[in-house]
Symmetry: C2
Subunit: 404 residues, 2 copies
C-alpha cells in the first residue's frame, strides 16, 4: 500500500514543481513541465516510477477520461453550430493539411500505410487547453483572432475525436479496411450525435432526480457515473473512452448544474490529470533523443521533419482564412500547439504496437516542441499588433472572458 | 479499460441509490446503504464486483485514507485538549468497557488471545461521522449531550487509532509481544505527537509556498501530497496509513487554508470513500448470516453476543458520566454507533488472516446493527426530552453548527 501512496505523492510533487518551474521561469504551460518531469522520474532517467505499473496506468487512463470530460464541460455545444465560416475553414484546413502532409511524408520516408495514417492523425488536433491558456496568459482571449482560433480548436477537437475513433478502430484490427473506416466514421458520428441528442434530452431528467436526492454528492456523482458509462459505452462500440467522456461533458455543459458539476470535476481532474501527463512522460524512452546513437539521430531527424509539417499545416490553414482585417499569422500560430489528443494518439499507437518507439518519440518531440514554441511566437505577434498604449489593437465590445 | 469504468460506475450507482434509499425511506445514514449495496453486488450475492480486484482494492484503500483525512480536517485539535472531563470520561469508559467485555467474552467463547484482542479492539471506536450525522438529522447538534458525545467521539477516535496501531502491528507479526505492544504504543504516540508538533509548525511554510505557486491546484495538491506522504510514513513505521491521514487532517485543520482544502478534499472523498464502503460490503460473505447453516447460526449467535457487549459497554460509559442535569441515556446511546474504524479493524483482521470469516461477519453484523439501531433510539430519546413546542429541552446560546 505505501508504495502506491509514495508513487502517487511523487507524481504529484514532480507535476507541481516542474509545472511551476515551467510557468514561472520558462513562461510555458504547466503541462510541458508535467511531461518533462515524467520523463525525469520515468524509466529512462531516474527510474523511480515504473512505466508499465497497472494501477498507475489505469489511474492515468481515468485521468485522460476526466480531462476530456472537463474539456467537454468547458466547450459549448451551441458554439460548435454557431461558429462562423472562418473558424470552420481554419479547423478543416488545419486538420486536412497536417494529415495529408504527415501521411505522405511518413509514407515517402518508407513507413507503412498504417504508420503513415497514425502520423497524419497525430498531427491534426490543436490543443484547445493550451491554446486558450496561452491567449489568457497574453490577455488576448477577447480578440477576434483568439475567438476564431478557439472556435476552430473546438471544431478541430471534434474532428480529431472522429479521426481518433477511426484510427483506434484500425489499431485494434491492425488492418486498413476502407469499408471499416466508413463504418467507424459512421459509428463515431452515430455515437456522438446519438449521445448528444439523447443525452441533451435525458440528462435534465437524470439531474432532476439527482438534485432531489438527499445523499451526499448525488449530483456530482451522477455526472461522474454518466461520464464513466458513456466512456465505457464508447469503448464497447470500439471508440476511444475519451470520445464518450468528451460527449458526456458537452451534454452536461447544456444543463443548469454545469457550474456546480464543473467545479467538482475540476477537483477530481486536479488529482488525476497530472498522473496522466506524468505517466505519458514516464513511458517515454529519453534515449530516443540521444544524438550520439543512430536511432537517436533518426528520431531527431524524423521529429524535425514532422515538426515542420505540423507547423506548416496549421499556418497555411490560418493564413488562407477568408475575411478582412484579420491578423492571419496570429491565427495560424495560435493553431500550432498540439497536446492531449496528439499524446493520446502516440500512446494508443505504442500500446497497440502500430507505431514503434522512434515514431512515438518523434510525435512526443512534436508535441513538446509545438507547445514550447507557441507562447513566445504568439507573444511576439500580439505585441507587434498592439498600439503604443499597450492595449490590444482590436477589442470586442463584450469581452468573452473576464480578463484579470 | 472499459471493465474498470463500468465497475466504478456500478459501485457509484449502487452507493448512491442504496445510500438514498437508506436516508430517505429507512431514515438511516447513507453509509449503511453503501455497505448493504456492496453486499448485494459483491461476491456472495450477484457477483458483479470481484471481492479481491487489485485496482478496486487499492482505490478503496485510498478511499479510507481520504476519509480519515477528511475526518481529521473536520476535527479540531484544540477541542482534543479543551474537552471537559465529561467527554474524556465518556471516551475512556466507552473504549475500556467494550474492549474488556469483548476480549473476555471472545476468550470465554474459545477464541484465541489474538482473536479476542481484535474483537475487543473492533468494539471500541464510536463512529464520529455517523454520530455527528445522526445528531444533525435530529437537529440536536447544539445540545449539551451532543457536544459531549462529539467531543468524546473525537478523543475516542484518537484512542481507537492508537489501538489500531498496536493491533495492526500484531497483525503483521502474528504474535503478541507485550514489549512490542508497549513499543507500538510508544511509536504511535511519537508518530502522532511528532507529526502534529512538527506538522503544525511546518505546514504554514509549506502552504505559504504552495499559495505563491502559479500552477493549477498547487494548494489542494500540496494537501493531498502531505496526506499521502504522512500515510506512507505511518505505514513505514508499521502504523496503519489512516493514522497518518488523520494526523495530516488534524494538522491542516489548524491552517488558514483549511476551508479551501476541506472543500477540495470533500470532492475527492465523494468519489473515493463510497468505493471503500461498497468494497467492504462486496468482500463480505452474506452466506455467513444464513440461519439455515450451522456456521450461519454461529455467526448470528456470535454477532448477537458481540452486539449486546458493544451496546452495554458504550451505554455504561455514558450513564456513569459525572455532572448534573445531563440526559445520560442520550449520551450513552449517542456513543453506540460503530463505523469506519470497526470496519477497518475487521478488514485488517481478515486480510492478515488473524480473524476468520465468521468473526469478520460478526463484526460487520455489529457495525450494521449499531448503525441501524441508533437513529430510531436517539430520535425517541430526544423527542422524550423535548417540551410540547417541539423545541429541544436544552439549547445553547450559540449554536455550534448552523442547523437548517
Amino acid at each position: 500500500m505505501h508504495v502506491i501512496l509514495v508513487q502517487l505523492a511523487l507524481i504529484l510533487i514532480i507535476a507541481k514543481i516542474s509545472g511551476e518551474l515551467c510557468e514561472r521561469w520558462l513562461k510555458q504551460p504547466a503541462v510541458l513541465g508535467e511531461l518533462v518531469g515524467g520523463v525525469l522520474i520515468g524509466q529512462s532517467v531516474l527510474g523511480w516510477i515504473p512505466g508499465e505499473d497497472v494501477f498507475l496506468h489505469q489511474l492515468a487512463e481515468i485521468g485522460a477520461v476526466l480531462l476530456l470530460f472537463e474539456i467537454g464541460l468547458e466547450s459549448n455545444l451551441d458554439d460548435l453550430f454557431k461558429v462562423g465560416k472562418q473558424a470552420l475553414w481554419v479547423a478543416f484546413a488545419g486538420v486536412v493539411l497536417p494529415f495529408v502532409f504527415g501521411y505522405f511524408v511518413a509514407h515517402a520516408l518508407g513507413r507503412t500505410v498504417m504508420e503513415a495514417i497514425f502520423v497524419g492523425a497525430a498531427m491534426t488536433a490543436t490543443s484547445v487547453g493550451i491554446t486558450a491558456r496561452v491567449f489568457t496568459d497574453l490577455k488576448s482571449l477577447h480578440t477576434k483572432e483568439a475567438r476564431i482560433v478557439l472556435g476552430a480548436a473546438v471544431v478541430d477537437d471534434v474532428i480529431g475525436l472522429i479521426i481518433l475513433a477511426v484510427v483506434s478502430g484500425m489499431a485494434v484490427t491492425k488492418v486498413i479496411s476502407w469499408s471499416a473506416v466508413g463504418l467507424q466514421t459512421f459509428m463515431a458520428l452515430v455515437f456522438l450525435v446519438g449521445a448528444i441528442v439523447i443525452g441533451v434530452r435525458a440528462t435534465p431528467f437524470l439531474l432532476h432526480w439527482a438534485r432531489k436526492m438527499q445523499t451526499r454528492a448525488a449530483l456530482s456523482s451522477s455526472a461522474v457515473i454518466f461520464c464513466f458509462l458513456l466512456s465505457a459505452l464508447a469503448e464497447m462500440v470500439q471508440l476511444a473512452p475519451i470520445v464518450g467522456a468528451f460527449a458526456a461533458g458537452l451534454v452536461l455543459d447544456k444543463t443548469d448544474d454545469k457550474v456546480h458539476i464543473e467545479q467538482k470535476i475540476k477537483s477530481l481532474a486536479d488529482l488525476f490529470v497530472p498522473v496522466f501527463f506524468v505517466m505519458v512522460g514516464a513511458r517515454m524512452d529519453a534515449q530516443m533523443f540521444n544524438p550520439a546513437t543512430a536511432s537517436g539521430r533518426t528520431t531527431l531527424i524524423l521529429g524535425g521533419v514532422l515538426l515542420v509539417i505540423a507547423v506548416l499545416g496549421k499556418m497555411l490553414g490560418g493564413i488562407s482564412v477568408p475575411g478582412k482585417g484579420l491578423k492571419r499569422l496570429t491565427i495560424g500560430v495560435g493553431m500550432i500547439p498540439r497536446g492531449e489528443v496528439g499524446l493520446i494518439f502516440a500512446n494508443m499507437g505504442l500500446s497497440s504496437r502500430v507505431i514503434d518507439n522512434s515514431l512515438y518519440a518523434a510525435i512526443i518531440f512534436v508535441v513538446i516542441t509545438t507547445t514550447f514554441m507557441t507562447p513566445p511566437l504568439l507573444k511576439w505577434l500580439v505585441s507587434q499588433h498592439r498600439p503604443k498604449g499597450g492595449q490590444p489593437a482590436e477589442t470586442h465590445s463584450t469581452p468573452v472572458v473576464e480578463v484579470v
